[in-house]
Protein backbone atom coordinates (compact mmCIF):
# COMPACT_ATOMS: atom_id res chain seq x y z
CA UNK A 1 0.00 0.00 0.00
CA UNK A 2 1.28 3.44 -0.93
CA UNK A 3 1.11 5.90 1.99
CA UNK A 4 0.76 9.16 0.03
CA UNK A 5 -1.65 10.88 -2.33
CA UNK A 6 -1.08 11.75 -5.98
CA UNK A 7 -0.55 15.41 -5.06
CA UNK A 8 2.16 14.54 -2.52
CA UNK A 9 3.87 12.15 -4.95
CA UNK A 10 4.27 14.76 -7.71
CA UNK A 11 5.20 17.54 -5.27
CA UNK A 12 8.02 15.55 -3.69
CA UNK A 13 9.92 15.55 -6.98
CA UNK A 14 9.94 19.37 -7.09
CA UNK A 15 11.41 19.57 -3.58
CA UNK A 16 14.04 16.98 -4.51
CA UNK A 17 15.14 18.93 -7.61
CA UNK A 18 15.34 22.16 -5.60
CA UNK A 19 17.81 20.40 -3.31
CA UNK A 20 20.02 18.85 -6.02
CA UNK A 21 19.82 21.29 -8.94
CA UNK A 22 21.62 21.34 -11.47
CA UNK A 23 22.40 17.60 -11.21
CA UNK A 24 19.21 16.60 -13.13
CA UNK A 25 20.16 18.92 -16.00
CA UNK A 26 23.67 17.47 -16.15
CA UNK A 27 22.24 13.94 -16.11
CA UNK A 28 19.95 14.72 -19.06
CA UNK A 29 22.85 16.21 -21.05
CA UNK A 30 25.01 13.15 -20.36
CA UNK A 31 22.09 10.90 -21.31
CA UNK A 32 21.58 12.67 -24.63
CA UNK A 33 25.34 12.53 -25.27
CA UNK A 34 25.43 8.80 -24.56
CA UNK A 35 22.78 8.19 -27.22
CA UNK A 36 24.36 10.60 -29.71
CA UNK A 37 27.71 8.82 -29.38
CA UNK A 38 26.18 5.37 -29.76
CA UNK A 39 26.90 5.05 -33.52
CA UNK A 40 30.58 5.91 -32.85
CA UNK A 41 30.98 3.34 -30.11
CA UNK A 42 34.61 2.56 -29.18
CA UNK A 43 36.11 0.43 -26.42
CA UNK A 44 36.16 3.31 -23.93
CA UNK A 45 32.51 4.01 -24.64
CA UNK A 46 31.30 0.85 -22.85
CA UNK A 47 33.32 1.76 -19.79
CA UNK A 48 31.95 5.32 -19.86
CA UNK A 49 28.32 4.24 -20.19
CA UNK A 50 28.75 1.59 -17.45
CA UNK A 51 30.18 4.21 -15.10
CA UNK A 52 27.37 6.64 -15.92
CA UNK A 53 24.75 3.93 -15.43
CA UNK A 54 26.22 2.66 -12.13
CA UNK A 55 26.44 6.26 -10.88
CA UNK A 56 22.70 6.68 -11.54
CA UNK A 57 21.86 3.59 -9.46
CA UNK A 58 24.15 4.65 -6.59
CA UNK A 59 22.83 8.23 -6.65
CA UNK A 60 19.20 7.16 -6.75
CA UNK A 61 19.77 4.63 -3.94
CA UNK A 62 21.72 6.98 -1.70
CA UNK A 63 20.37 10.46 -2.37
CA UNK A 64 16.85 9.91 -3.66
CA UNK A 65 15.74 6.93 -1.54
CA UNK A 66 17.67 7.47 1.69
CA UNK A 67 17.60 11.25 1.94
CA UNK A 68 14.34 12.11 0.22
CA UNK A 69 11.81 9.34 -0.48
CA UNK A 70 12.53 7.93 2.99
CA UNK A 71 10.52 10.82 4.49
CA UNK A 72 7.40 9.44 2.86
CA UNK A 73 7.87 5.67 2.76
CA UNK A 74 9.23 3.49 5.57
CA UNK A 75 10.49 0.89 3.04
CA UNK A 76 12.77 3.39 1.27
CA UNK A 77 15.98 2.00 2.89
CA UNK A 78 15.12 -1.43 1.46
CA UNK A 79 14.79 0.11 -2.01
CA UNK A 80 18.12 1.89 -1.46
CA UNK A 81 19.87 -1.41 -0.75
CA UNK A 82 18.40 -2.94 -3.92
CA UNK A 83 19.54 0.05 -5.99
CA UNK A 84 23.06 -0.14 -4.48
CA UNK A 85 23.15 -3.86 -5.34
CA UNK A 86 22.28 -3.09 -8.97
CA UNK A 87 24.97 -0.39 -9.02
CA UNK A 88 27.53 -2.95 -7.83
CA UNK A 89 26.38 -5.46 -10.46
CA UNK A 90 26.74 -2.87 -13.24
CA UNK A 91 30.18 -1.81 -11.99
CA UNK A 92 31.32 -5.42 -11.86
CA UNK A 93 29.88 -6.28 -15.26
CA UNK A 94 30.87 -3.07 -17.05
CA UNK A 95 34.15 -2.01 -15.46
CA UNK A 96 35.63 -5.31 -14.20
CA UNK A 97 34.41 -7.79 -16.81
CA UNK A 98 33.93 -5.29 -19.66
CA UNK A 99 30.75 -7.11 -20.66
CA UNK A 100 28.65 -3.98 -21.09
CA UNK A 101 29.46 -2.52 -24.53
CA UNK A 102 26.40 -0.91 -26.11
CA UNK A 103 26.35 -0.12 -29.81
CA UNK A 104 23.81 1.06 -32.37
CA UNK A 105 22.20 -1.88 -34.18
CA UNK A 106 19.41 -1.91 -36.77
CA UNK A 107 17.48 -4.86 -35.36
CA UNK A 108 14.24 -5.19 -33.40
CA UNK A 109 16.23 -5.57 -30.17
CA UNK A 110 18.39 -2.57 -31.07
CA UNK A 111 15.39 -0.37 -31.85
CA UNK A 112 13.67 -1.50 -28.65
CA UNK A 113 16.83 -0.58 -26.72
CA UNK A 114 16.97 2.86 -28.38
CA UNK A 115 13.25 3.33 -27.71
CA UNK A 116 13.64 2.53 -24.00
CA UNK A 117 16.59 4.94 -23.67
CA UNK A 118 14.61 7.73 -25.35
CA UNK A 119 11.58 6.90 -23.17
CA UNK A 120 13.84 7.16 -20.10
CA UNK A 121 14.85 10.67 -21.20
CA UNK A 122 11.27 11.80 -21.93
CA UNK A 123 9.06 9.82 -19.55
CA UNK A 124 9.17 12.31 -16.67
CA UNK A 125 7.22 15.18 -18.20
CA UNK A 126 4.77 12.64 -19.66
CA UNK A 127 3.98 11.31 -16.20
CA UNK A 128 3.69 14.34 -13.94
CA UNK A 129 1.63 17.54 -14.10
CA UNK A 130 4.72 19.49 -15.23
CA UNK A 131 8.40 18.78 -15.79
CA UNK A 132 9.45 19.71 -12.26
CA UNK A 133 6.75 17.56 -10.69
CA UNK A 134 7.83 14.43 -12.53
CA UNK A 135 10.55 11.76 -12.41
CA UNK A 136 13.52 13.14 -14.37
CA UNK A 137 16.23 11.17 -16.13
CA UNK A 138 19.26 9.95 -14.21
CA UNK A 139 18.18 10.90 -10.69
CA UNK A 140 14.85 9.11 -10.15
CA UNK A 141 14.17 5.38 -10.22
CA UNK A 142 11.79 4.86 -13.18
CA UNK A 143 13.98 6.57 -15.81
CA UNK A 144 17.09 4.88 -14.35
CA UNK A 145 15.42 1.47 -14.71
CA UNK A 146 14.22 2.15 -18.28
CA UNK A 147 17.63 3.47 -19.40
CA UNK A 148 19.32 0.39 -17.92
CA UNK A 149 17.00 -1.96 -19.79
CA UNK A 150 17.70 -0.06 -23.00
CA UNK A 151 21.49 -0.18 -22.57
CA UNK A 152 21.47 -3.93 -21.87
CA UNK A 153 19.36 -4.53 -25.00
CA UNK A 154 21.86 -2.47 -27.05
CA UNK A 155 24.81 -4.59 -25.93
CA UNK A 156 27.18 -5.84 -28.65
CA UNK A 157 27.13 -9.41 -27.51
CA UNK A 158 24.22 -11.05 -25.74
CA UNK A 159 23.62 -8.71 -22.84
CA UNK A 160 24.34 -9.75 -19.25
CA UNK A 161 20.84 -10.89 -18.32
CA UNK A 162 21.51 -10.67 -14.58
CA UNK A 163 21.26 -6.90 -15.04
CA UNK A 164 17.60 -7.17 -16.12
CA UNK A 165 15.54 -8.40 -13.10
CA UNK A 166 15.90 -5.36 -10.81
CA UNK A 167 15.06 -2.74 -13.49
CA UNK A 168 12.15 -4.88 -14.72
CA UNK A 169 10.80 -5.31 -11.18
CA UNK A 170 11.12 -1.59 -10.57
CA UNK A 171 9.16 -0.73 -13.73
CA UNK A 172 6.38 -3.04 -12.51
CA UNK A 173 6.50 -1.49 -9.02
CA UNK A 174 6.36 2.02 -10.48
CA UNK A 175 3.32 1.09 -12.59
CA UNK A 176 1.64 -0.33 -9.47
CA UNK A 177 2.41 2.87 -7.56
CA UNK A 178 0.84 5.00 -10.30
CA UNK A 179 -2.19 2.74 -10.37
CA UNK A 180 -2.62 2.82 -6.58
CA UNK A 181 -2.44 6.62 -6.35
CA UNK A 182 -4.81 6.96 -9.30
CA UNK A 183 -2.32 8.35 -11.85
CA UNK A 184 -2.07 5.35 -14.16
CA UNK A 185 -4.87 6.42 -16.52
CA UNK A 186 -3.48 9.94 -16.63
CA UNK A 187 -0.06 8.67 -17.71
CA UNK A 188 -1.40 6.63 -20.62
CA UNK A 189 -3.78 9.40 -21.69
CA UNK A 190 -0.82 11.79 -21.70
CA UNK A 191 1.27 9.28 -23.67
CA UNK A 192 -1.55 8.76 -26.21
CA UNK A 193 -2.05 12.52 -26.53
CA UNK A 194 1.67 13.08 -27.19
CA UNK A 195 1.74 10.25 -29.73
CA UNK A 196 -1.34 11.63 -31.52
CA UNK A 197 0.24 15.08 -31.72
CA UNK A 198 3.45 13.60 -33.20
CA UNK A 199 1.41 11.72 -35.81
CA UNK A 200 -0.45 14.94 -36.65
CA UNK A 201 2.84 16.79 -37.11
CA UNK A 202 4.41 14.02 -39.21
CA UNK A 203 1.32 13.70 -41.43
CA UNK A 204 1.17 17.49 -41.89
CA UNK A 205 -2.36 17.67 -40.51
Amino acid sequence: MIPFTEEIYWNHFALYYDAIWPIPLMAVLLGVASLALLPFSRRWFGLGVSTFLAAQWFWTGGVYFLLHYGQLVWAAPVFAVVFFAQGVLITWSGAALRRLEPEFRQSPTGWLGIGLCILALCIGPLMGPDWKQSPLFGVTPAPVALYSLGIVLLNKRRGPIYLLPIPLLWVIWEAMTLWMIGSFDGFFLSLADTFARRVEILSGA
Binding site: N11, L15, Q71
Partner: protein, 302 residues
Protein backbone atom coordinates in the same frame (compact mmCIF):
# COMPACT_ATOMS: atom_id res chain seq x y z
CA UNK B 1 -15.25 28.04 19.93
CA UNK B 2 -17.06 28.03 16.60
CA UNK B 3 -20.51 29.66 16.54
CA UNK B 4 -23.48 27.35 16.24
CA UNK B 5 -26.72 28.29 14.53
CA UNK B 6 -30.11 28.03 16.22
CA UNK B 7 -31.19 25.46 13.64
CA UNK B 8 -28.12 23.31 14.26
CA UNK B 9 -28.66 23.56 18.02
CA UNK B 10 -32.30 22.47 17.79
CA UNK B 11 -31.32 19.67 15.39
CA UNK B 12 -28.60 18.55 17.76
CA UNK B 13 -31.07 18.35 20.64
CA UNK B 14 -33.21 16.18 18.42
CA UNK B 15 -30.20 13.89 17.91
CA UNK B 16 -30.08 13.31 21.64
CA UNK B 17 -33.62 12.07 21.68
CA UNK B 18 -33.05 9.80 18.67
CA UNK B 19 -30.08 7.91 20.15
CA UNK B 20 -29.84 7.74 23.94
CA UNK B 21 -26.06 7.15 24.05
CA UNK B 22 -25.35 10.41 22.22
CA UNK B 23 -24.51 13.67 23.92
CA UNK B 24 -23.34 17.08 22.71
CA UNK B 25 -19.93 18.69 23.06
CA UNK B 26 -18.24 21.76 21.59
CA UNK B 27 -19.70 23.29 18.41
CA UNK B 28 -22.73 21.03 18.62
CA UNK B 29 -20.69 17.90 17.90
CA UNK B 30 -22.32 14.70 19.04
CA UNK B 31 -20.24 12.63 21.42
CA UNK B 32 -20.36 9.08 22.66
CA UNK B 33 -19.06 7.61 25.86
CA UNK B 34 -15.93 5.48 26.15
CA UNK B 35 -17.39 2.49 28.03
CA UNK B 36 -14.37 1.78 30.25
CA UNK B 37 -14.10 5.34 31.59
CA UNK B 38 -17.32 7.24 30.91
CA UNK B 39 -15.33 9.94 29.11
CA UNK B 40 -17.14 11.59 26.17
CA UNK B 41 -15.55 11.56 22.70
CA UNK B 42 -16.78 13.42 19.58
CA UNK B 43 -18.19 10.92 17.09
CA UNK B 44 -16.22 12.36 14.17
CA UNK B 45 -12.43 12.12 14.48
CA UNK B 46 -9.70 12.32 11.88
CA UNK B 47 -7.43 9.70 10.29
CA UNK B 48 -4.11 10.62 8.71
CA UNK B 49 -3.35 7.73 6.32
CA UNK B 50 -1.91 9.22 3.10
CA UNK B 51 -3.26 12.72 3.65
CA UNK B 52 -0.75 13.96 6.26
CA UNK B 53 2.33 12.24 4.81
CA UNK B 54 3.67 15.38 3.10
CA UNK B 55 7.31 15.20 4.22
CA UNK B 56 9.08 18.56 4.39
CA UNK B 57 6.80 20.30 1.88
CA UNK B 58 6.04 23.48 3.85
CA UNK B 59 3.21 24.60 1.57
CA UNK B 60 1.41 21.30 2.08
CA UNK B 61 2.21 21.30 5.82
CA UNK B 62 0.54 24.68 6.16
CA UNK B 63 -2.47 23.48 4.16
CA UNK B 64 -2.79 20.54 6.57
CA UNK B 65 -2.58 22.98 9.48
CA UNK B 66 -5.67 24.70 8.06
CA UNK B 67 -7.40 21.32 7.88
CA UNK B 68 -6.69 20.73 11.57
CA UNK B 69 -7.81 24.26 12.41
CA UNK B 70 -11.17 23.51 10.79
CA UNK B 71 -11.30 20.19 12.67
CA UNK B 72 -10.93 21.82 16.08
CA UNK B 73 -13.21 24.75 15.21
CA UNK B 74 -15.94 22.21 14.43
CA UNK B 75 -15.46 20.42 17.76
CA UNK B 76 -13.22 17.56 16.59
CA UNK B 77 -11.47 15.28 19.07
CA UNK B 78 -9.60 12.15 18.04
CA UNK B 79 -6.64 12.31 15.65
CA UNK B 80 -5.28 8.90 14.68
CA UNK B 81 -1.95 8.07 13.07
CA UNK B 82 0.78 5.42 12.91
CA UNK B 83 4.55 5.13 12.43
CA UNK B 84 3.63 3.25 9.25
CA UNK B 85 2.25 6.44 7.67
CA UNK B 86 5.61 7.95 6.65
CA UNK B 87 5.97 11.53 7.87
CA UNK B 88 2.35 11.83 9.08
CA UNK B 89 3.18 11.87 12.79
CA UNK B 90 5.85 14.54 12.33
CA UNK B 91 3.47 16.63 10.21
CA UNK B 92 0.69 16.32 12.82
CA UNK B 93 3.17 17.52 15.45
CA UNK B 94 4.08 20.48 13.24
CA UNK B 95 0.42 21.38 12.65
CA UNK B 96 -0.56 21.07 16.33
CA UNK B 97 2.35 23.35 17.23
CA UNK B 98 1.05 25.99 14.82
CA UNK B 99 -2.48 26.06 16.23
CA UNK B 100 -3.37 28.43 19.07
CA UNK B 101 -6.09 26.11 20.39
CA UNK B 102 -6.43 22.35 20.28
CA UNK B 103 -9.12 21.98 22.94
CA UNK B 104 -10.61 18.52 22.99
CA UNK B 105 -7.62 16.88 21.28
CA UNK B 106 -7.57 13.13 21.83
CA UNK B 107 -4.25 11.71 20.61
CA UNK B 108 -4.19 8.20 19.16
CA UNK B 109 -1.34 6.42 17.43
CA UNK B 110 -0.02 2.90 17.04
CA UNK B 111 2.94 0.70 17.70
CA UNK B 112 3.97 -1.19 14.56
CA UNK B 113 7.03 -3.38 14.75
CA UNK B 114 7.61 -7.13 15.21
CA UNK B 115 10.05 -6.52 18.12
CA UNK B 116 8.90 -5.57 21.62
CA UNK B 117 12.14 -3.72 22.50
CA UNK B 118 11.80 -1.64 19.34
CA UNK B 119 8.18 -0.89 20.20
CA UNK B 120 9.24 1.08 23.28
CA UNK B 121 11.61 3.25 21.23
CA UNK B 122 8.99 3.67 18.51
CA UNK B 123 6.34 4.88 20.96
CA UNK B 124 8.80 7.32 22.54
CA UNK B 125 9.71 8.59 19.07
CA UNK B 126 5.99 9.08 18.33
CA UNK B 127 5.69 11.24 21.48
CA UNK B 128 8.58 13.37 20.20
CA UNK B 129 7.12 13.65 16.70
CA UNK B 130 3.67 14.66 17.96
CA UNK B 131 5.29 16.86 20.64
CA UNK B 132 3.06 15.40 23.36
CA UNK B 133 4.02 14.17 26.81
CA UNK B 134 1.74 11.15 26.59
CA UNK B 135 -0.79 9.64 24.22
CA UNK B 136 -4.42 9.21 25.13
CA UNK B 137 -4.60 5.98 23.14
CA UNK B 138 -1.84 3.62 21.98
CA UNK B 139 -2.92 0.80 19.66
CA UNK B 140 -1.23 -2.37 18.43
CA UNK B 141 -1.25 -1.92 14.65
CA UNK B 142 -2.78 -4.86 12.76
CA UNK B 143 -2.18 -7.10 15.81
CA UNK B 144 1.56 -7.19 14.97
CA UNK B 145 3.44 -8.74 17.94
CA UNK B 146 0.24 -8.40 19.99
CA UNK B 147 1.44 -10.35 23.03
CA UNK B 148 4.79 -8.57 23.24
CA UNK B 149 3.43 -5.05 22.86
CA UNK B 150 0.46 -5.70 25.14
CA UNK B 151 2.83 -6.33 28.06
CA UNK B 152 4.47 -2.95 27.45
CA UNK B 153 1.15 -1.16 27.03
CA UNK B 154 -0.30 -2.58 30.23
CA UNK B 155 2.85 -1.42 32.02
CA UNK B 156 2.70 2.05 30.43
CA UNK B 157 -0.98 2.42 31.30
CA UNK B 158 -0.26 1.51 34.93
CA UNK B 159 2.48 4.18 34.99
CA UNK B 160 0.14 6.77 33.43
CA UNK B 161 2.21 7.02 30.25
CA UNK B 162 -0.91 6.26 28.16
CA UNK B 163 -4.59 6.44 29.09
CA UNK B 164 -6.10 3.72 26.93
CA UNK B 165 -4.97 0.57 25.10
CA UNK B 166 -6.25 -0.37 21.66
CA UNK B 167 -5.89 -2.84 18.82
CA UNK B 168 -6.45 -2.23 15.11
CA UNK B 169 -7.05 -4.10 11.89
CA UNK B 170 -7.86 -3.08 8.37
CA UNK B 171 -8.02 -6.66 7.08
CA UNK B 172 -11.46 -8.23 6.90
CA UNK B 173 -9.94 -11.72 6.88
CA UNK B 174 -8.57 -11.22 10.40
CA UNK B 175 -11.89 -10.59 12.14
CA UNK B 176 -11.81 -13.96 13.96
CA UNK B 177 -8.31 -13.30 15.38
CA UNK B 178 -9.34 -9.75 16.17
CA UNK B 179 -12.41 -10.85 18.08
CA UNK B 180 -10.28 -13.27 20.12
CA UNK B 181 -7.88 -10.42 20.95
CA UNK B 182 -10.82 -8.25 22.06
CA UNK B 183 -11.94 -11.03 24.41
CA UNK B 184 -8.57 -12.05 25.83
CA UNK B 185 -6.57 -8.80 26.09
CA UNK B 186 -7.21 -5.77 28.33
CA UNK B 187 -8.40 -3.64 25.45
CA UNK B 188 -10.18 -0.28 25.81
CA UNK B 189 -10.52 0.51 22.08
CA UNK B 190 -10.87 -1.61 18.95
CA UNK B 191 -10.31 -0.07 15.50
CA UNK B 192 -11.57 -1.75 12.33
CA UNK B 193 -13.29 -1.10 9.00
CA UNK B 194 -17.03 -0.57 8.73
CA UNK B 195 -19.04 1.33 6.14
CA UNK B 196 -22.41 1.24 4.42
CA UNK B 197 -21.26 -1.30 1.81
CA UNK B 198 -18.83 -3.24 4.03
CA UNK B 199 -20.92 -4.28 7.02
CA UNK B 200 -19.03 -7.44 7.94
CA UNK B 201 -18.20 -5.90 11.33
CA UNK B 202 -21.91 -6.11 12.23
CA UNK B 203 -21.57 -9.91 12.40
CA UNK B 204 -18.90 -10.26 15.09
CA UNK B 205 -16.84 -7.22 15.98
CA UNK B 206 -19.51 -4.66 16.77
CA UNK B 207 -21.61 -7.07 18.88
CA UNK B 208 -18.45 -8.23 20.69
CA UNK B 209 -17.44 -4.63 21.41
CA UNK B 210 -20.91 -3.91 22.83
CA UNK B 211 -20.82 -7.04 25.00
CA UNK B 212 -17.29 -6.40 26.28
CA UNK B 213 -17.68 -2.66 26.83
CA UNK B 214 -14.98 -1.75 24.29
CA UNK B 215 -15.01 1.58 22.47
CA UNK B 216 -14.81 1.31 18.66
CA UNK B 217 -13.01 3.43 16.08
CA UNK B 218 -14.10 3.00 12.48
CA UNK B 219 -11.45 3.35 9.77
CA UNK B 220 -12.00 3.57 5.99
CA UNK B 221 -15.52 5.02 6.38
CA UNK B 222 -15.54 5.98 2.68
CA UNK B 223 -13.58 2.88 1.58
CA UNK B 224 -10.63 5.15 0.70
CA UNK B 225 -12.86 7.57 -1.19
CA UNK B 226 -14.37 4.90 -3.43
CA UNK B 227 -17.85 5.31 -1.91
CA UNK B 228 -17.84 9.07 -2.49
CA UNK B 229 -16.71 8.51 -6.10
CA UNK B 230 -19.40 5.87 -6.54
CA UNK B 231 -22.32 7.89 -5.17
CA UNK B 232 -21.33 11.49 -6.00
CA UNK B 233 -23.15 11.40 -9.35
CA UNK B 234 -26.49 10.65 -7.65
CA UNK B 235 -28.57 13.17 -5.69
CA UNK B 236 -29.19 12.49 -2.03
CA UNK B 237 -32.63 11.02 -1.33
CA UNK B 238 -35.14 13.64 -0.21
CA UNK B 239 -35.56 11.98 3.19
CA UNK B 240 -31.82 12.61 3.89
CA UNK B 241 -32.91 16.06 5.08
CA UNK B 242 -34.75 14.36 7.96
CA UNK B 243 -31.37 13.39 9.39
CA UNK B 244 -29.74 16.73 8.48
CA UNK B 245 -27.55 15.36 5.68
CA UNK B 246 -26.40 17.93 3.18
CA UNK B 247 -23.98 15.76 1.19
CA UNK B 248 -22.83 12.19 0.68
CA UNK B 249 -19.95 12.24 3.18
CA UNK B 250 -22.44 13.20 5.90
CA UNK B 251 -24.84 10.51 4.74
CA UNK B 252 -22.10 7.85 4.90
CA UNK B 253 -20.67 9.02 8.23
CA UNK B 254 -24.05 9.37 9.95
CA UNK B 255 -24.80 5.81 8.95
CA UNK B 256 -21.62 4.65 10.71
CA UNK B 257 -21.74 6.68 13.91
CA UNK B 258 -25.43 5.98 14.45
CA UNK B 259 -24.65 2.30 15.01
CA UNK B 260 -25.09 1.84 18.77
CA UNK B 261 -21.73 0.06 19.18
CA UNK B 262 -19.69 2.62 17.20
CA UNK B 263 -17.87 5.25 19.26
CA UNK B 264 -16.28 7.33 16.51
CA UNK B 265 -15.30 7.32 12.83
CA UNK B 266 -11.98 8.67 11.53
CA UNK B 267 -12.30 9.90 7.93
CA UNK B 268 -9.08 11.28 6.44
CA UNK B 269 -8.93 14.37 4.26
CA UNK B 270 -6.42 16.90 2.97
CA UNK B 271 -8.95 19.66 2.25
CA UNK B 272 -10.67 22.15 4.53
CA UNK B 273 -14.02 21.99 2.71
CA UNK B 274 -14.05 18.20 2.97
CA UNK B 275 -13.19 18.46 6.67
CA UNK B 276 -16.15 20.81 7.16
CA UNK B 277 -18.41 18.37 5.34
CA UNK B 278 -17.18 15.49 7.50
CA UNK B 279 -17.61 17.41 10.73
CA UNK B 280 -21.17 18.28 9.72
CA UNK B 281 -21.96 14.59 10.15
CA UNK B 282 -21.54 14.96 13.88
CA UNK B 283 -24.24 17.60 14.08
CA UNK B 284 -28.00 17.42 13.74
CA UNK B 285 -30.34 14.47 13.86
CA UNK B 286 -28.99 10.94 13.59
CA UNK B 287 -30.67 8.04 11.80
CA UNK B 288 -32.57 5.51 13.87
CA UNK B 289 -32.76 1.80 13.01
CA UNK B 290 -35.56 2.34 10.48
CA UNK B 291 -33.72 5.09 8.62
CA UNK B 292 -30.45 3.09 8.72
CA UNK B 293 -32.27 0.31 6.88
CA UNK B 294 -33.56 2.85 4.33
CA UNK B 295 -29.99 4.12 3.85
CA UNK B 296 -28.70 0.63 3.08
CA UNK B 297 -31.56 -0.15 0.69
CA UNK B 298 -31.05 3.15 -1.08
CA UNK B 299 -27.30 2.85 -1.75
CA UNK B 300 -27.57 -0.81 -2.70
CA UNK B 301 -30.14 0.12 -5.35
CA UNK B 302 -27.87 2.76 -6.93
Amino acid sequence: MAPISRRAFVSSLAALTALPNLALARAGQATKVIPKSGEALPVIGMGSWMTFNVGTDMALRNERTDVLRAFFAAGGGMIDSSPMYGSSEEVIGYCLGKLPQTDGLFTATKVWTPMSWHGVGQMEESEDLWKVKRFDLMQVHNLLNLDGHMETLVDWKAQGRIRYIGITTSHGRRHADFEQAMKKKPVDFAQFTYNILNREAENRLLPAAADLGIATIINRPFSRGALIDQFARYPLPEWAAEIDCENWPQFLLKFIVSHPAVTCAIPATSQVDHMNENMGAGRGRMPDAKIRKMMIDHVEAL
